[in-house]
Symmetry: C2
Subunit: 356 residues, 2 copies
Amino acid sequence: TKQRHVAVLPGDGIGPEIVEEGVKVMKQAGEQFGYHFQVDFGLIGGSAVDRVQNPLPTETLQICWEADAVLLGAVGGPAWDKNPPELRPEKALLRLRKELGLFANLRPAKLFSGLEQSSTLKAEVLEGVDLLVVRELTGGIYFGEKRREQTERGEKATDTLVYQDYEVERILRRAFEWARNRRKKVTSVDKANVLESSRLWRQVAERVAGEYPDVKLDHMLVDNCAMQIIHRPTDFDVIVTENMFGDILSDEAAILTGSIGLLPSASIGEGNRGLYEPVHGSAPGIAGEGVANPVATILSVAMMFRHSFGDEQAARAIEAAVTCVLNQGARTMDLAAPGDLALSTDQFGDRVIEEL
Amino acid sequence: TKQRHVAVLPGDGIGPEIVEEGVKVMKQAGEQFGYHFQVDFGLIGGSAVDRVQNPLPTETLQICWEADAVLLGAVGGPAWDKNPPELRPEKALLRLRKELGLFANLRPAKLFSGLEQSSTLKAEVLEGVDLLVVRELTGGIYFGEKRREQTERGEKATDTLVYQDYEVERILRRAFEWARNRRKKVTSVDKANVLESSRLWRQVAERVAGEYPDVKLDHMLVDNCAMQIIHRPTDFDVIVTENMFGDILSDEAAILTGSIGLLPSASIGEGNRGLYEPVHGSAPGIAGEGVANPVATILSVAMMFRHSFGDEQAARAIEAAVTCVLNQGARTMDLAAPGDLALSTDQFGDRVIEEL
Ligand SMILES: CC(C)[C@H](C(=O)O)[C@@H](O)C(=O)O
Ligand SMILES: CC(C)[C@H](C(=O)O)[C@@H](O)C(=O)O
């Protein structure tokens, strides 16, 4: 049996409920595909602030360092919205990504057949949608210097957007590699008509493209891309972009799948270690009610098998099980049409396990 | 008769064609509503770079200063994409907005009945869509310091996002004023969980909201907003946000109307002088063919009457004429369904004039 060490960080809001389903599926798939897991739980986010006054306690960071993969639920909520920056739940996410060197964030958006009616887009527009947003995750304005000053004209706030050549190069290279295994098309998104960092981004993209003559590179301005994702979603294969643009565009792309409750993500770096988390947030409004959609977390577990354990077979098996359950018409609240019977979070998880 | 001085800047690509229709409609409406116009044409953008090596020649700036309103087509195109920053067409737009102090950019997005089928969104989702994006236009990362440096690890590029209290306050106040004349709901969009400038933005929004107890204020994170605009478009009334977020979200909102060829914009400052331009770009690919949609420009002229001349009646008359022509089934190429007969740019303009 293959030994793997997984750090599990449930976090806030619906985090614990969905992560429970993720772990269940992980264990079941592990049994079938010959894994033995050591699972360590860690505190993170607002619940960590409440208990130990630190959104990312040292022990949590420690178990992540020691793990082969990290499964995260979600962090944040209005309870901590007025906290000072250092005591905000989101800070934990940012630090964790940075500390583990997870510079490449993958957010696939693919339509499950049968879910067209859950999207606000017309079914014919969605047909064949299958795109991958590759978001740079440890640079840009999220990590640049921040300042607050008192000036003659009142308060002044500053954020700084910085990119280094090598940061752009490594993420672009990843995007091209992934595109090779897909439809061989990379759309690099920037705002090169205004931003200096985008001009650097575009230069580097052109240079890296030279190494991948089999992959087609297009540049698109971020404002136009925000429109085209909805206007012509099937035109896209791999979208690669900087941190904040990727944040915005990948949430927007969630629309293409019918619910943000369906979108998984993987954050990876140079090695095999990865962080896997749903794209959606902690949804405190529905926490504890058992109505959250566990699909994004379960699909994140599939990505864990694929990217951290190099096990495409197990990944596909999980994805197939989810597809199968959805095809049978099973729905969680976010996807249920009026009149549909919605399954609870753990009922849905159970169904996936049955199908595995 | 009312004397008004209008600067007309056709610009690049389809700019001249669509501006011609805008001016035609402006003159016709002027005749009906008792205006005498002095119209001065100016060079701007790539065509200005080609002729005088300056995207915003001093003479152009001069006629804008002297005008009551500026009508702009569009600037930019691949021909100038590799130009140094100072010789880029877009630079002219940024400078012009700044020099004229046009800090408030209004981008209304409203569905014209009969155009539902041109949108990729389901008709039932679009029903009743009527939102106004208020974008801050002279601050933020567009205008902060930019740098390119050589470091040990290669090139490094920096952009700076700066907001001052007073800049946020004046745009928020405008948003609240406009919301008062609408459905009394303001959604302020930021990324306050990460950016310092967004935290300032949110504070100021809260403070300004205190002066408008009859208007409801919500805060929304930009990633979530990019999703909600498509997911629940009718939930929004006025969206107010900083420069770059507004750029992205207003282009995205174009989807709600079926074509970006329909979206007008007004950029205004402290006085009555305003700049009116379509939201879309210069579309060099279709320039000179007479297939561009002049609606965004014509509706921008309506906004000119409304905001710079304080003439709601003339504005409504133009809007009604456009609605009427669209209701009669007239379409330009971007909106024509396969099989529809598409009108040319100037045929469409003529029809609007007939209906005026
Ligand atoms: C919570 C926040 C800091 C985070 C981000 O913007 O990176 C989230 O929106 C995400 O996309 O993972
Ligand atoms: C051309 C560009 C600088 C401009 C902007 O981003 O402001 C355009 O996209 C717009 O929205 O008016």
